[in-house]
């Protein structure tokens, strides 16, 4: 996965705001953490890598690999069960894979629950399970531990590390919590180093 010479501007009430400037970035298997203060373009970079936003110039290339995305918000379908939330994003319904991911994320007991019946931690697990259910080769995670207590965060970090390792996934995680990134990532890239003139290569 690579991004080359990415520029991204936003129009705000105060005028033109440049978020990403000549940013280049490579990531390979394992978990890469992107860190930096709020408003420095971490989420924007992740969204560009996922194809949710287009850069003003430059290219982001994921080699057509399958992407799983853990959004900052849970973004769960409120009216359907956890199982149907996972089935929703599958190319073809595959109950076996859903059961496997539910087991992997500790959600087997909650398969038939509605999202509103789950705790915050469980909802984050469902968001992670949804990102994994289509066997992604690239996993992008935007502040995946927001709103979770330290115990839950630690448990989820351990799970993610195992899942990424076992499945040979290239993962990029964005967080402004340095401690979370250190516990989770094999390498951490401060966005300030690659935004502007810098470049990071795996």
């Amino acid at each position: 996965m690579k991004a080359r010479h990415i520029y991204k501007n936003y129009q705000t009430a105060a005028g033109n705001c440049r978020v990403l400037s000549d940013l280049s970035f490579d990531a390979g298997p394992g978990i890469t953490g992107l860190t930096g203060p709020s408003g420095t373009g971490k989420t924007t970079l992740l969204r560009i890598l996922a194809g949710l936003e287009k850069p003003d110039s430059g290219t982001a290339d994921t080699d057509g690999k399958k992407i799983g995305y853990v959004f900052q918000e849970d973004r769960l379908l409120p009216a359907v069960s956890v199982r149907r939330n996972l089935e929703f994003v599958q190319e073809k319904p595959d109950r076996g894979r859903i059961d496997e991911v539910l087991r992997m994320t500790g959600l087997t007991e909650k398969a038939d629950s509605l999202p509103d019946e789950l705790s915050g931690g469980m909802k984050r697990r469902v968001a992670l399970a949804r990102a994994l259910v289509s066997k992604p080769e690239i996993l992008l995670m935007d502040e995946p531990f927001t709103g979770l207590d330290p115990e839950l965060t630690a448990a989820l970090i351990a799970d993610i590390k195992t899942i990424v390792k076992e499945n040979g996934i290239t993962a990029v995680v964005v967080s402004h919590q340095q401690g979370e990134l250190e516990a989770l990532c094999s390498r951490i890239v401060p966005l300030s180093q690659i935004n502007g003139s810098g470049e990071y290569s795996d």
């Binding site: 996922a50 194809g51 949710l52 992407i67 995305y69 959004f71 918000e73 973004r75 379908l77 409120p78 009216a79 359907v80 149907r84 929703f88 994003v89 289509s134």
Partner: protein, 249 residues
């Protein structure tokens, strides 16, 4: 249990209050021809219930109400979904729907009476009255679906059928319920009005009109009561099916 009994007592008391008031007004008017009381109306209603014409007329009226409502709700859902997804469809339909909505019902009835058979006019009128309600509700429902969920579905390239089933229909449900309840309510009124103005036979509307024409006011009241009861029963059944209270319009 006690609370339920209390509530029933309040409802019965309220009904008795209005029945007594109705009887008092009738007595003070002093003429059955102008304002019959509840007892005389009930007697007329029982008389009507013993005729086969009553059931034929109510049956045809119901058929027109439901025909119009289901046609309008069905097409309102289809075009509402298309309008919610595709701005050009919305742009084309919006002025037409807005015009139909602003047209007085009487104008619609008279115009349609020029072009259609009298028996079909009430059904077509109900369609024109109810379609804008459903179309507007469904379009708004689609447009107000959480954009974050839509973006999630875009990312995973979720096919249209699955999006409709799991994402849009649950979001649309309250809008659909509201439009169905409103359409049925409006459907009754517009159908009976159209039946009278288009002289549709057999119909409850025409029986209402004949009762007035022959100065049979107790029967006029009895038909009115019968139509109110039919409307209430249908609404109750619909609520049971929908399983929701009528949302605010």
């Amino acid at each position: 249990m006690k609370k339920a009994h209390g509530r029933a007592a309040v409802v019965i008391s309220a009904a008795l209050f209005w029945l007594i008031l109705w009887e008092c007004v009738s007595l003070s008017v002093g003429s059955e021809l102008i304002f019959p009381g509840p007892v005389r109306t009930l007697a007329a209603l029982i008389g009507l219930l013993g005729t086969s014409e009553f059931y034929t007329s109510v049956g045809w009226t119901m058929l027109r109400v439901f025909g119009g409502v289901f046609l309008s709700v069905g097409l309102g859902i289809v075009f509402g979904i298309l309008s919610g997804f595709y701005e050009p469809v919305r742009t084309i339909l919006a002025p037409a729907v807005s015009t139909v909505r602003s047209l007085p019902v009487v104008s619609v009835i008279i115009l349609l009476n020029l072009w259609l058979k009298s028996g079909v006019v009430p059904l077509a009128v109900t369609f024109f009255v109810c379609f804008p309600i459903t179309w507007t509700n469904v379009t708004e429902g689609i447009l107000s679906t959480d954009p974050l969920l839509v973006e999630m579905a875009d990312l995973y390239r979720v096919p249209a059928g699955r999006r409709l089933r799991d994402l849009y229909f649950p979001a649309l449900r309250p809008y659909l319920n509201a439009s169905l309840m409103n359409a049925v309510g409006m459907g009754w009124k517009s159908t009976v009005t159209a039946e009278v103005l288009a002289a549709a036979r057999p119909s409850a509307g025409m029986n209402l009109y004949y009762a007035k024409l022959y100065l049979n006011t107790p029967e006029l009241f009895a038909w009115t009561v019968a139509l109110i009861l039919c409307s209430m029963i249908v609404e109750k059944i619909l609520r049971l099916i929908i399983g929701k209270e009528r949302p605010a319009i």
